[in-house]
Assembly symmetry: C2
C-alpha cells in the first residue's frame, strides 16, 4: 500500500517529491501516459531501474495456447496477451563516462508531476555523478490526444558546476526483458521475445523499426526523430539493428549551458497493411509531429484537455483527497479511451500488463456510463468496437449450442479468452451489460444513430441469447440456471437477481428498439411474435426473495447458505488467494457488490424498504476483494442514507491506485474503480439515475463535503449540477432555446439556459442504522 501523503494533495497535479524505488512499479502505473492508442508506462527515461517496462499499443496482442490439465468442450484454446512493444521512451545519459542512474552517485533532487490539465508528465532531477559532477535533468513527456500516433519527450540536460561532456543515447528497444510473473491469476502471462524483426531503417536523427508477432501475425512500426539544441558543437549519429535503434548525441556543456532534445515518437500497427504502408504511416506521423513542433503539441494537448474538463470536471469542496483522486481518475479514464477508436478499452487501460490487457464487462458497466455523460464520442467508439465483434460472439454462441450471440468474458480482439468458465462463460451478464450500455448511450445522447448503425443488432442477438439460456418452469416463472453474477465468490447458481433483472432489461430494450427500427428489425428476422415473447419473458423473470428476512436473495437460496466465518479470515484477503472456490461458492461471502449493483442499475425494481434492508444485509457479507465494489457500495449507501459510509466508499474507489489499496497497482490502474469515483460522487451524492429513461437526480452530501459541482451532457445540452448541504442548483449553458427536463427527487423540473432551477434539499433519513462490514473489511480510512 502507498502511504497516505506519498503524493501531496493538489487539485490538478499528482506530484511525487522523492523517488521511492520500493514503489517504482506502482508509480509507473500512476504516471502512465496514454491516448487510448499508445500507452507509455511511467518508466524512468534512462530505462532502469524499472518495475515493469511497458509500452503498449491498443489491442496489439499475441496469442498463446491456454493450457488445461483437464480440458472441456468449448474451452478457448488460445489466449490473447497485450504485448510490450518497442520502447521509445528510453533516453540514456552519460555524464562524462558515467551513466546517469539513480542508484549510483547522489540523487540530490527528484520530482515527477503528472499535470492533469497539461496532459504531461514532468520530471526534474538534480544528480551528482560518482565523479562529482552535478547536472540537472528535466524531461517532459506527452502522448498526444490530438495526433493519435504520436508521443514526444522534451529532454533537457544542464551542467551545473563544471564543464561536462554529455552523451545522450535516445533509443528504440524491442523485446525488452520482463520480470518473472507470480502465480496470482490477476497478473499477466509472460511472453518471451514476442516481436519478430521485420525491418529497420535509419536516418541521421532517427530510425524506424518494424516487427511482427509470431502467432497473431500483427505488424507494428515504431519511429523516432529528434530535434537538438545546444550552444556549442554537437555530434549526432544514428544506428539501427533488428531489435534496437539508437541516436547518439554528444556535446560539451559549461556550467549553466543546456542540451535540449525533443524526441518525437510515432507508432502504428495493423493486421492487414504492408510493411511499406506501415513504415510510411509512422514516418508521416513523425513529419506531422515535427511540423507541429514541441510547443504545438503542448498547446494541442492543453486545448484538448480544456475541452474535456469543461464538460466533465467534478469539483469537491471539503475533501481535497477526493478532489484530487476523482480528477486523477477522470484523466486516466480519458487516457484509456480518448483515441481507442473501435478497439477494446482494457480493464487497466494501457497502463500495465495486468489481466493480460483484457477488456471485461467493466468497460460497459463502469467506464462507459462516465464516458456517455462526458465524452460521448469515446463511448460510441467503444460500443462500435463491441458491435464489430458480433460475428465472433455469434460463433461463440453457436459453439455453445445457444441462440444469438454471447460476448466474451475477457478478450482483446473479441475471442473468448477466459480459461475458467464458472467465472467466465457462465457470467452471461456481460451481454446484458453491453446491451444496457447501448441503451444508456441512446438515452444520454438522445439519438438513435448508433442504435441504427449497430446497436439494434447487438440488442436483438443478446435478447436471443437470453431466450435460449433461460426457461419457464411449470408455473410460468422464468429462470436462468447455472449462472454466475458479478460476485465471483458465488457461482453456477439459479436466478442471480442482477443477471435476471439485466436480462429482462435487455429483452425489453431489444423489443423497444425493434419498434423504433421496424425495417431493420425485420431484416434481422425479428417478427412481432418474437418481440412479444421478449416482453412477456421479461415480465416472468424470477427474483428470489427471502420473505422471512425481508431481503432479496442474491441468487436462489443465498440467504440460507452457510455463513462465512469472517473472524477466521481477517488475514486472508483477498480470499481468492487463500481460500478454495469449493468453500467460497456455497457460503454467504461476497466478493463484490452484486445484488447491490442490481439496485443501482435497476433501482425501479426495488422499494425503498427493500433497498434499505438489502444494503444492510449485503454490507455485512461483502469483503470487497474486487476493485469493482466500493463505488457501487458508495452509490447505494448514499441512496439509503448512510452518507458517511458512502463517503468512505467513494474515497476507497477514488484512492484505489493513488494508495495502492488492492496491492496490484504495479500491474496497471483499475479503470473501473477510477471511473467509479465519478460514479460514487455523481450517482451517489448527486443521485444520478437513468434506468427509467429519464435523467433523475436526488442530491445529498455527506457532512464534510461542503459543496459538489459536476457537469454532464444530456442530449445536446451541458448541465451543471451544483450541490451544497441545503440546496441544489441545475443550470445549462447552450444557447437561448436549450431546455432540459429532469427529475429532481421525484419531481419533474424544466431547466432552460436563462432559467436555472434551484431546489432545497430535504435531509435524507436512513431507515436502518449504518451496517457493519465483515471484520477487518471496513472501507479504507479517509484522512
Amino acid at each position: 500500500m502507498i502511504e497516505q501523503g506519498a503524493f501531496p494533495v493538489e487539485p490538478w497535479h499528482i506530484r511525487e517529491t522523492r523517488l521511492d524505488l520500493g514503489l517504482i512499479a506502482q508509480s509507473e502505473s500512476i504516471f502512465a501516459l496514454s491516448n487510448g492508442h499508445i500507452g507509455l508506462r511511467g518508466n524512468l527515461d534512462e530505462g532502469e531501474p524499472a518495475g515493469l517496462p511497458g509500452t503498449y499499443l491498443g489491442s496489439f496482442y499475441e496469442t498463446r495456447p491456454l493450457p488445461y490439465a483437464e480440458a472441456g468442450f468449448g474451452y478457448p484454446e488460445d489466449g490473447q496477451t497485450l504485448v510490450d512493444v518497442t520502447n521509445g521512451k528510453v533516453i540514456r545519459l552519460l555524464v562524462d563516462d558515467e551513466p546517469f542512474d539513480v542508484r549510483y552517485g547522489e540523487l540530490l533532487e527528484h520530482e515527477r508531476v503528472l499535470d492533469l490539465r497539461a496532459g504531461t508528465l514532468l520530471r526534474t532531477a538534480r544528480w551528482r555523478s560518482p565523479a562529482g559532477k552535478e547536472v540537472a535533468i528535466t524531461s517532459t513527456r506527452l502522448v498526444s490526444f490530438e495526433q493519435r500516433g504520436v508521443a514526444a519527450i522534451e529532454y533537457v540536460v544542464e551542467a551545473l558546476d563544471q564543464f561536462t561532456r554529455v552523451t545522450v543515447q535516445s533509443e528504440l528497444v524491442s523485446n525488452e526483458d520482463q520480470p518473472v510473473t507470480s502465480k496470482d491469476p490477476r497478473v499477466s502471462a509472460a511472453l518471451s521475445r514476442p516481436l519478430e524483426p521485420v525491418m529497420h531503417e535509419k536516418g541521421e536523427r532517427g530510425a524506424v523499426l518494424l516487427h511482427r508477432t509470431r502467432a497473431s501475425q500483427l505488424m507494428m512500426a515504431a519511429g523516432m526523430d529528434h530535434e537538438v539544441e545546444v550552444p556549442g558543437r554537437v555530434e549526432v549519429e544514428t544506428d539501427a539493428a533488428p531489435d534496437y535503434a539508437r541516436t547518439t548525441i554528444i556535446c560539451g556543456l559549461r556550467p549553466g549551458q543546456r542540451l535540449r532534445i525533443v524526441k518525437y515518437l510515432a507508432y502504428g500497427w495493423s493486421s492487414l497493411r504492408t510493411r511499406p504502408a506501415l513504415r510510411d504511416q509512422v514516418s508521416g506521423a513523425l513529419a506531422s509531429a515535427r511540423y507541429s513542433g514541441w510547443q504545438g503539441l503542448l498547446d494541442g494537448q492543453r486545448a484538448y484537455l480544456d475541452e474535456f474538463w469543461d464538460g466533465a470536471d467534478v469539483e469537491v469542496e471539503g475533501d481535497a483527497d477526493i478532489q484530487q483522486a476523482v480528477r486523477f481518475g477522470l484523466f486516466h479514464v480519458l487516457q484509456a479511451s480518448a483515441r481507442a477508436e473501435r478497439r477494446a478499452i482494457a480493464g487497466k487501460g494501457l497502463t500495465g500488463p495486468g489481466y493480460d490487457g483484457h477488456a471485461f464487462w467493466d468497460t460497459e458497466a463502469y467506464v462507459l456510463p462516465v464516458l456517455s455523460y462526458t465524452v460521448p464520442e469515446a463511448a460510441a467508439d467503444a460500443l462500435r468496437w463491441r458491435a464489430s465483434t458480433l460475428d465472433l460472439a455469434r460463433a461463440r454462441a453457436e459453439q455453445l449450442g445457444l441462440k444469438g450471440a454471447t460476448f466474451p468474458w475477457r478478450t482483446i480482439r473479441g475471442h473468448e479468452c477466459s480459461a475458467y468458465w464458472p467465472a467466465g462463460t457462465a457470467a452471461w451478464h456481460v451481454n446484458a451489460d453491453i446491451a444496457a450500455a447501448f441503451e444508456r448511450h441512446r438515452l444520454v445522447t438522445g439519438t438513435d444513430d448508433l442504435e441504427r448503425e449497430c446497436g439494434l443488432e447487438v440488442l436483438v442477438e443478446t435478447a436471443r441469447l437470453w431466450m435460449s439460456l433461460g426457461h419457464h418452469d411449470r408455473h410460468g416463472v422464468w429462470h436462468i440456471d447455472g449462472v454466475t453474477g458479478p460476485d465471483e465468490y458465488t457461482a453456477i447458481v439459479r436466478d442471480n437477481v442482477f443477471t435476471n433483472l439485466m436480462a429482462a432489461h435487455n429483452l425489453r430494450c431489444a423489443a423497444d428498439a425493434s419498434v423504433r427500427h421496424p425495417e431493420q428489425a425485420l431484416a434481422l428476422g425479428v417478427d412481432t411474435e418474437e418481440a412479444a415473447a421478449w416482453r412477456d419473458t421479461a415480465d416472468d423473470v424470477a427474483l428470489p426473495y427471502d420473505a422471512d428476512l425481508g431481503v432479496h436473495q442474491q441468487c436462489e437460496g443465498f440467504t440460507t447458505f452457510a455463513e462465512w466465518d469472517f473472524a477466521a479470515s481477517t488475514d486472508r484477503y483477498p480470499l481468492l488467494l487463500h481460500e478454495p472456490y469449493v468453500r467460497l461458492y456455497p457460503a454467504q461471502v461476497i466478493k463484490q457488490a452484486d445484488l447491490v449493483l442490481a439496485m443501482q442499475f435497476q433501482g425501479h425494481a426495488f422499494t425503498d424498504d427493500q433497498k434499505a434492508r438489502n444494503v444492510d444485509y449485503y454490507e455485512r457479507r461483502t469483503v470487497r476483494d474486487s476493485s469493482l465494489s466500493a463505488c457501487t457500495q458508495a452509490v447505494m449507501c448514499a441512496e439509503v442514507g448512510h452518507l458517511e459510509l458512502a463517503h468512505d466508499y467513494a474515497y476507497e474507489a477514488a484512492a484505489i491506485d493513488l494508495r495502492d489499496l488492492h496491492h496490484n497497482t504495479r500491474d496497471g490502474l483499475h479503470m473501473a474503480s477510477l471511473a467509479g469515483a465519478w460514479t460514487a460522487l455523481v450517482a451517489g451524492f448527486g443521485g444520478l439515475r437513468d434506468d427509467e429513461g429519464v435523467l433523475s437526480l436526488d442530491p445529498q452530501l455527506p457532512e464534510s463535503i461542503t459543496r459538489l459541482t459536476f457537469r454532464l451532457r444530456w442530449r445536446d445540452v451541458r448541465l451543471t449540477v451544483d450541490i451544497d448541504h441545503r440546496h441544489v442548483r441545475y443550470s445549462i449553458r447552450d444557447g437561448a432555446d436549450a431546455r432540459l427536463t429532469l427529475r429532481h427527487a421525484g419531481e419533474l423540473v424544466e431547466i432552460t439556459s436563462d432559467a436555472h432551477v434551484e431546489r432545497e434539499l430535504r435531509r435524507r433519513r436512513a431507515l436502518l442504522p449504518p451496517p457493519p462490514q465483515p471484520l477487518g473489511r471496513r472501507p479504507a480510512g479517509r484522512s
Copy 2:
C-alpha cells in the same frame, strides 16, 4: 465398437480367431494379464505392431506439473501418471534373416485365447516368411497370482516345412515410444522417457535393469532369465545397456523340430529401498520362479483360480454372452486387485494408461462390493491402502479449511490429482463411499478387526469432514451446498440426495463404530457430544422431493431445471466431448445414475412407490455417458420390475469392453463396469442388499435367463444362491454347525449346512410401464 461375435462365446475363454490390426489396441486391453502388482498389456510378443505398449507396476508413477491457465487456491500443483515401465514381454523372432512381423509375409493362422481358469494368454500363429519358410509359434504368458513379483512366457517355435535358422531376441526394453495422445480428457498424459537408468547387469541367460523416475524418485527393477530347450546346437548370449537388455538364442530347426524358451520375468519397485536391495529382490524372484519351473507356475496359477472361482463364480443359463462376460469381468477384477497389497486399485486396473492410472471412487463404490463378497482379503488390502493415505487426506482438508479428512477424487499415491474441482474436489461423496466400503466390509466379513486396525479412524475423520461441509438452516434442516454428486453433468448444487444420504450413513457409521471401540474413539478425541451431533445431523439431512411430480430431486431444484433437447444431440455422445458444461450443468440431462444409485445403496430411505416413480423419471433423462451407470440402472430396473430392461443394462455393463461400447477400451478396461456386471446379476436379479445390516436377497429373473447361480461369502460361511423362474434355493457348505440368517423377500430365513432353504418366487409386478430412454440411448442391443 467391436462387432458382436468378434470373440466367439465360450464360457471360460475369450478367443480371438484372427488378428484385426484395427482393433489391436482394444485387444491389448482385453488380453492384459495382471495380478494387481504387475500388469502386462496383451501386446504381441514381437513388440509391434502395437496399439499402446504397456507394462505397469501397481502405483509406480511419475509426477508432472498440472498446468492452469487461470489458477485457483487449493488446486493441486502436481499430477501423478502411471509409468509404462521396462517391457519384459518382448520376444523377437528371426526366421533366417527375416523378422517375424504379422504385417509382412503371410499370416496363415493367428489365434489368441485368454483362459479364465488357467490364468494364461495363449497365442498360436502359423506364418510364412517373405522368403517362403513356414513356422508355427506358440506363446503362453502368465502373470503369477502366487508369486507376486513374477511373470513368465513359454515361447515355442517350430519349423514346419524346411530347415530354418531361428534367432530369438528376448528383451527388456525401457522408455518405449508411446503414440501421441488425444485431447479427450479421459486418456492419459504423455510422459516422455520417464525412466532414468540406474544400473544394468547381465548374466549369460538373463539381465537386470534398474531405473528411477525423475520427479517422483521411485526406483524399479526388471529382470529376466531364460530356459532353452532345442534338439541341436544352440547359442545363447546376453547384452545389456542402460535402456535395454537382450538375450539372443540361435539355433537351426529341421521340419517338426521345436525351440522352446521359458522366459521368467521379475519386477519390483520401491521409494525407499536401495539399488542392491531391489536388484537382489528381482534376482530372488527369478530364482524362485526357476525353482517352481514353468509347469509349477501354471499349476499354481490354476490352483489359485480354482479357489477363486469356487467362491465367486456366477453361472448364467440362457444368456451365453452374459455368462462369458461376467466371468471375463470377475477375472479382470481379480487381476486388478488380487496382489495389489495396499496399493490403489486403478479405474482401469493395470490394463492400460487411461485416466493416468488413477483410482477413483469407483474402487470403493463398484469394485470393493464384489471383492468383499468374493475375495475379502483383497478388499481389506484396498481399504488398508485408503487408510494409509489418511494423513494426506487430513492435510488436504486442512488446506481447504475443513475439519477431518478428505480423500482425493483421483490419485495414485494419495495426493489429490484432480485439476477440475467442480467434478473433483466438490464431489465430496468419495469420502462417504470409502466409509461405506469399510462398513460393508465389516458387515460381510462379520469382524471388527479391520475397523479396529484402521477403519474407525477413517470413519471418524470423514464424519468430521461432513460436519464442517454441511450446515443447518434456520429451520434445522441440514444442507450440503456447492456439492457435486455422481452425475458429472450436474455440479455445484445444493443437497445432492446421493451425497446427503451417504453422508448421513457415514455419520451414523462413525457414531456406531465409536460405540464399538470406545477407547480408541476417545483417543481420537470423539466424545459423546460429538457422536450425538453426528447422529442428530444424520437425522436432519435434506432430501429434496418434488411433491407435484412425486419424485425425488437429484438435487435441490433438479426437476425444475430446463429439459435437455435429446432430439438435437443424438449424434453428440458422449456429450462431454460435444457440449459445454455451462449448458449441461443446469439442464435435466444426467451422465450416470445418481439418484438411482442412491436408491441402490440406501434403498431403505425410499418407498417402493418412490423407487418406481424415481426410476421412471430418471431413466428418461440419463444418457449413460459414464461406464458406471448401466450396472446401477440394471439393479434398480430389476427392483422396480422392469426385468427385461434390467437384462439389457446387465448386458451393457458386462459387454462394455468385449464390445468396446464406450470406444475407449484401447486405453484400458473399465473395472467398475466389469465389477458392475456381477452387481447387475447378483444385486439386480439376485436382489442382494446389505444397507440395513442384514444380508437380504429377493431374486427374480428376466425371461431369457432360465437359471442364475452365484456364490458369495458372508462372515465365515459360503452361500450358494440358485435361482430359476419359480424358485430360489439357498445353501451353505461349511461344516455341520455353520448357519446363516438372511432376509428373503422381507422374510428372515435361517440356513444351515444340512438344511438348505428353498422358496417359491412371486412374480414381481412393475408399478409403471417400462420407461423410455433419451433418444438413441437405449441400452446396447443384446443378441
